[in-house]
């Protein structure tokens, strides 16, 4: 039990804003006013002085996200029911049922049957993509410019250690993923419907691989944010790993069927 007089001198010492907090508050005000570039400049300078501050990193990341027009506030309901962040990846372990359920015709309705049959080689990947897209209906699609800012935000948060920072990074990962996966679908559809099949399919597969890398990063962030679910998430990561390992052979089979008709 601590009993002390309410001595103002001590209060002053305890309560004084540190210089770092001053800068953080100022940057937050700039973000609220939409002066994102100014906030980014301020926080980059601050991080040069105090590179280990998770709080500064989160504010800098939020300035990039705000510049991209992404406000976690708008996805409050989605973010609060964070089970949706965890449950999605957990379901990936049910690979077989997901694979069976994926409807190629629904994803690529305009493609000829031959192309649809060829794309069945990618069913495990497409199943995951569809599952995530289905869960991220509330998440906005972002263009390349926005995606660039969001990836900068994700990168800024990489060294952070606090669980909250990992939740934020996971949310940003998901927003980028949603658009990545939409682009993957478009690229695969393009490969199957236009000239330059092989080249387009290679681009699509590289993009798909990069998206799956981001998905693994998302799972890693979740594991950091929810240590008690880390074992489950690790299982899901291993599942993804094996899907990624199978991807080159699936791509090869798809290429043969789709581009060479054999």
């Amino acid at each position: 039990m601590i009993v002390s007089l309410l001595a103002p001198g001590c209060q002053k010492q305890e309560g004084d804003l540190s210089k770092q907090e001053d800068v953080q508050d100022k940057a937050t005000t700039l973000i609220e006013r939409g002066q994102n570039d100014e906030a980014i400049r301020l926080m980059i300078e601050e991080l040069k002085k105090n590179p280990v501050s998770d709080r500064s990193r989160q504010i800098l990341a939020s300035a990039y996200a705000n510049r991209a027009g992404i406000r976690v506030e708008n996805y409050y309901g989605f973010a609060v029911t964070y089970n949706s962040l965890i449950k999605g990846p957990e379901d990936f372990s049910k690979k077989n049922s997901a694979e069976e359920n994926v409807d190629i015709s629904e994803i690529f309705p305009a493609l000829p049957d031959q192309a649809k049959n060829a794309l069945r080689q990618l069913a495990p990947n497409l199943a995951i993509i569809q599952k995530i897209r289905g869960r991220l209906i509330q998440v906005p699609l972002v263009n390349a410019e926005q995606s660039k800012d969001l990836l900068l935000a994700v990168e800024v948060l990489r060294p952070t250690t606090s669980p909250g920072a990992h939740v934020y990074r996971a949310i940003l990962d998901l927003i980028v993923l949603r658009s990545h996966f939409d682009r993957n679908i478009q690229l695969i559809g393009l490969a199957a419907s236009e000239d330059g099949c092989q080249r387009n399919l290679d681009i699509a597969m590289r993009s798909l691989q990069s998206s799956f890398g981001l998905l693994q990063q998302f799972l890693d962030d979740l594991a950091q944010a929810y240590p008690s679910s880390a074992a489950n998430l690790l299982g899901t990561q291993q599942q993804l790993e094996s899907i990624l390992n199978e991807m080159p052979s699936q791509a090869q089979k798809t290429r043969l069927l789709l581009c060479h008709g054999s």
Binding site: V3, L5, G15, I59, P163
Partner: protein, 351 residues
């Protein structure tokens, strides 16, 4: 005399400290003081006694009481829907849904409610508040919501002792106040709350305060103006378990008031000057208050750079009803304040 006054004021400023505090609770929240008079009159309530609440703000006014009385009040405001969620959160029985209810509007929000009973005569006043709840939340940065949260469930006992020195027209009083509360004082990103273990950010702490708050009123006899010079020193005392963000800062109030009888009642004006480390700009130290009393009706209001309010109370038979509308800007850090319009109500009985 002016030199002495300067020395006194300089010493007082030194004693009270100066400068801003980071993430400090709003003044009334930290001190646990609220009520119809405080919300409507602001700091001017230390210069007036409008008898809107159970006990006067300045304990020296107790010695001016003509009759003994027993009062019981329920006091609250328009955000009373937060009551259950706040209590659940502070008492540690809250669920995710309580947090969601409180934060779903994502707007700055304040809330106060109290139940209090008191006995008052011209020697002393004793009040007991078995239940009081205060809540304040502010949201910043929509890109990554940063939440400042203060929530408290408290009970308190106040004893006011007063005496009158007739030879010098001076009324002396002291308030001994005990405040026991469970309090949450936290600032975090929404994502911190969503992470595993995030509920620790809204974990309440126990605090007990013991305050000694002296007051003086100099009221020279006057036929018309009824001038008064008042002084009150508040929030001075000791505590068990310090939370820097919610420890109330000592404040000194020096006021001057007049309250002449006019044709249809009594009309009072007061100017209060506050010394506190929470005062950043000199202009924030000044509060102008006024009241008008006619029969059973009392109307009162105040203006300062940080708040303004207007209210009335009616004592009909044994029933006391009051309503007040205030605009309050509560500072939550050096650059930002939470501004909100609030309507307070008071339902009371007086015997």
């Amino acid at each position: 005399m002016p030199r002495l006054l300067n020395i006194f004021l300089s010493a007082l400023l030194f004693l009270l400290g100066a400068g801003a505090q980071a993430q400090t609770a709003p003044v009334n929240f930290a001190s646990g003081r609220t009520g119809l008079a405080i919300q409507s009159l602001g700091a001017a309530c230390f210069s007036f006694d409008v008898s809107a609440d159970t006990l006067p703000c300045n304990p020296a006014f107790v010695a001016m009481q003509q009759e003994q009385s027993f009062r019981a009040n329920i006091f609250g405001d328009n955000n009373i829907s937060h009551l259950n969620d706040t209590v659940a959160l502070v008492q540690g029985t809250g669920q995710q849904s309580n947090v969601q209810n409180l934060f779903s509007s994502r707007s700055n929000s304040q809330f106060d409610t109290r139940i209090e009973a008191a006995y008052l005569n011209h020697d002393f006043g004793l009040s007991y508040e078995p239940f009081g709840v205060s809540y304040l939340s502010s949201f910043r940065n929509p890109a990554l919501p940063q939440i400042t949260l203060f929530a408290s469930v408290e009970n308190s006992v106040r004893l006011q002792l007063a005496s009158f020195a007739s030879a010098s027209d001076v009324y002396l009083g002291v308030q001994i106040r005990y405040l026991d509360r469970q309090i949450i004082a936290s600032r975090f990103f929404l994502t911190d709350l969503l992470a595993e273990g995030g509920s620790s950010l809204v974990k309440a702490q126990e605090q007990q305060y013991y305050f000694l708050e002296p007051g003086i009123v100099y009221a020279p006899k006057s036929d018309f103006w009824n001038p008064q010079v008042t002084f009150n020193f508040i929030n001075w005392g000791a505590h068990v378990n310090s939370i820097a963000a919610t420890d109330p800062s000592p404040e000194a109030h020096l006021g001057f008031s007049v309250s002449p009888e006019i044709g249809w009642g009594r009309w009072g004006w007061a100017l209060d000057t506050t010394w506190s480390q929470n005062i950043i700009n000199a202009s924030d130290a000044l509060t102008v208050g006024s009241f008008y009393q006619m029969g059973i009706l009392k109307a009162f209001g105040s203006v300062s750079t940080t708040s303004s309010g207007a209210g009335f109370s009616v004592l009909y038979d044994r029933l006391n009803l009051g309503l007040s509308y205030t605009t309050i800007a509560e500072r939550i850090d050096a650059d930002n304040s939470v501004s909100e319009q609030r309507v307070f109500f008071l339902l009371g009985a007086e015997l």
